[in-house]
Amino acid sequence: MSSLERPLSAVPGWILWLLAAALGSQLAWQAARRTGAPAAADLPPAPSAQALRLASLGEPAALARLAMVWLQAFDSRGDNTIPYQRLDYQRLIAWLGAILATDAKSEYPLFAAARVYGENPDPAKMRLVFDFVFAEFASDPNRRWPALAHAALLAKHRLNDLPLARQYASAIQQLTTDESVPLWARQMEIFILEDMNELEAAKVMLGGLLASGRIRDPQEQRFLQGRLEEIERRLAGPGQAPAR
């Protein structure tokens, strides 16, 4: 026993009882009050980006990410059959916009928008999110293209809205300039055009892409050349179109 401490018997008995009772009450009280993820209705209106910057005390990058972690907890509790179904998407998008404006280089808000909130089964909510992603894409296409590419895929496969998917794919194709943007993303419009049976436009785009010299990988060149020939065969006549 340390010489700094007196023996336990020096402590009056009522203090031990008080300590045990207070600890037991605290544990029971907090256990009874345990809360899970906050409900959809708990999401407050979004603040302005200026207010978020002020609250960040000069650390907008940290605050933006913390705010995203906090935001994604709303309406995500385990008893939800469909998470985020009850969330007010107008309010959510205002939050995402404010967080993105706080740290424009963060990919978190658009990733969450496209991959989490955009996968909502409600088409109206999906479209709201896609509009947000599309609007924000133009500010920094080389950094934000993955979110719009995912939105294009969802628009094509979930919403079955090929014109919308083409609009997004076209924006990626036209606005991205960075060499690191993969070709599949920049070629997405061609394949959507094919799906839309806009074969003439697809042929022009694909031919232009091949002629531009931007595709240096021989395998990729061969693959795209094959697709171009296939489109040309389909244009020539249905009898000559190979099965896809």
Binding site: L27, W29, Q30, R34, T35, S76, R77
Partner: protein, 254 residues
Amino acid sequence: MKHSATVARYSLVEALRSGLPWLAAACVIAVLGLSGFLSQVAITEATALQASTAGALLRACAVFLTTAHVVMSVAREANDKGLELALALPISRPAYYLGKLLGFACAGALLATLFALPLLFWAKPADLGAWWISLVVETALAAAAALFFASALTQTVTAIAAAVGLYLLGRSIAAIQAIAGSPLTGDSVPAQAARWIVDALSLLLPRLDAVTRGDWLLYGAPAAGELAHALAGLAIYFLLLAAAGLFDFSRRNL
């Protein structure tokens, strides 16, 4: 009980004769100045901005001043050997500790009252009354935490850091718990362990996010039952800190 009341009275007198009242007055002036400035530049909700900013800042000031005062008072007493002198008198350790706690809680209550008064300009008296009662309980809890840490840790900076850390955790634990409970965090072992740790931690912390809220001043105080429920949680934690402090103080070899 009589001994405790005497110790409490002298603790309160010490607070009133120290620089605490001047610091409190400076805080009120600074907060009113800052919130007044913000209301001038706001293009809408100027009064709401002033009330909510002043409420939030005054709350933080009340808790910090109480904490700092308690820790400094305990440190000064230890340096001056006042504690040994007091315990040489016919007074028990628990009576002494409880007297100090009562005195510091009363000093906190006076601070809370002083800080609530300027808010009468913007808030309804009934809503402000709930906010004031809540701040009184919150400062008492801050005093109990500061006294416990100052007694147990003896080092001033460590004690202030521990008390402020406990307070900040109490203010943020609900949000941390909500974040940890999100299914998006996955079911991996680290994620489950983090969730379990946060849940366990929440059992040992007060829910300070549910009390003395600035929105009470704007949109009205919660119902009496809800307020009483929130304050009861703080009262239990106050008892726990007092009991832990008594236990530690009774065992210490001076």
